[in-house]
Amino acid sequence: MKRVISFKLNGEDVEAYVQDNITMVDFLRKQMHLTGTKRGCEEGECGACTILLDGGAVDSCLMLAVEADGHEVVTIEGVQKDGVLHPLQKEFMDKWALQCGFCTPGMIMSALSLLHENPHPTEQQIRDGIAGNLCRCTGYAKIVEAIDAAAKVLAKEVGA
């Protein structure tokens, strides 16, 4: 079956006509042409397809598009504001927290969710927060550093 769903996508109200059996990652990429969300393992192991659903990071390959009805979704395309990169995005660049970049959108969505729930994470909590995101290039050290640095930038912004 096909049905109309309405939800908030990257801050905008969206209505879409979706097939019941399409996963969220396929819907985002094929129907909404938002290809920042990556298709990796397609079974919830690698985290490349991570998006925010009502503010929390979930795997969009383990979600049906119809489940988004009435909810709020943010993809990597919705992280920058008016052309200005989010501190996480800046720190990933400055700290060289990526090489091939395939895992990066998912990493940033997981980190965003983590910092939203826990603005001052320890290194252990950062590692736990990205445990569902695989990176085969960096060895994770730079990613952890970038998230830690972004947390400090965000804390200053809140304090300022």
Partner: protein, 293 residues
């Protein structure tokens, strides 16, 4: 990748979900978080599915509360992430928060539920051993009223539960008795990776002490049989005894003789058996560390 064709129904009530599940007993599947169900549909692991019944729209299934005299109530929609991070669970039963945290990744736990974890009935499900050790009760709904199933009777085999599909039976909640004074509980998982990995084995222990005498104890093992198992010989050996290092070691040996593991990609049956010996002792010690005052 495309999933096979099916109709998605977001049930608005237990009655609607149950009657549809009954009508389509052979071709429907119930879904809460969907983190296991979506993959099973894709792989055909749950047979030919033409109807997916989502229970997320049913009111009143998102409990995460403590009722005096009854214990913790975990609803069918309650996410593993909510259990892991709940101050209430961390206070009343930290071993359950730990078990929830052991499941997969935070992305999966933000969508997946504890009830889904047990309905999936994997022998290595991380939340099963602690529920067995705590003697939890599974509450269900069906047209004729529903029932309470002791968790010890819930698991019937690999991916098989006591739920009556022909009656459209649905799990609504799990009730977990709270720890009383002098009681403690723990769940320990052995896996290669700390996250995102299935358990090689897992052991949960619940213990009630009278001074330094073991008044009562329950030990449950995951990943070593077609269902999560109780280690009843080990329990019998511990009951009424004074705690001592040597006693824990003997209990570990007894538990290792009761488990029935297979060899697979994660570990050999021999290794699993020996790890049950080691982790049984560790789980008892950890439970003793968490005794409620």
């Amino acid at each position: 990748m495309a999933l096979p064709k099916f109709d998605y129904v977001r049930a608005a009530s237990l009655g609607e979900a149950s009657s549809l599940a009954k009508e389509k007993a052979a071709t429907s599947i119930l879904m809460a978080g969907g983190t296991d169900v979506i993959l099973q549909i894709r792989d055909g692991a749950c047979g030919q599915v033409d109807t997916v019944i989502d229970v997320k729209g049913i009111p009143g299934l998102d409990q995460l509360e403590y009722r005096e005299g009854e214990g913790l109530i975990i609803g069918a929609q309650t996410k593993l992430f909510a259990i892991q991070t709940s101050p209430l669970v961390q206070e009343e039963l930290p071993a359950l928060a730990a078990a929830a945290h052991y499941v997969a990744s935070s992305q999966v736990r933000r969508k997946g539920t504890l009830v889904g974890n047990i309905c999936n009935a994997s022998p290595s499900a991380d939340t099963a051993p602690i529920l067995l050790a705590m003697d939890a009760v599974v509450e269900t709904y069906r047209a004729d009223g529903g029932r309470e199933i002791p968790i010890g009777e819930f698991f019937k085999g690999v991916k098989k539960t006591a739920l009556d599909k022909a009656q459209g039976e649905i799990v609504t909640a799990v009730k977990i008795p709270a720890l009383k004074s002098g009681e403690g509980a723990a769940y320990l998982k052995h896996s290669v990776r700390k996250a995102m990995d299935l358990a090689i084995i897992g052991v949960a222990a619940w213990i009630r002490m009278d001074g330094d005498i073991v008044e009562d104890v329950r030990i449950a093992m995951g990943g070593v049989g077609t269902t999560p198992l109780r280690a009843k010989e080990a329990e019998a050996l511990l009951k009424g005894q004074r705690i001592a290092e040597e006693l824990f070691e003997r209990a570990g040996v007894a538990a290792s003789k009761e488990c029935r593991p297979i060899s697979d990609v994660r570990a050999s049956a021999e290794y699993r058996t020996d790890m049950i010996r080691v982790y049984t002792g560790r789980a008892i010690r950890k439970a003793l560390e968490t005794l409620k005052a």
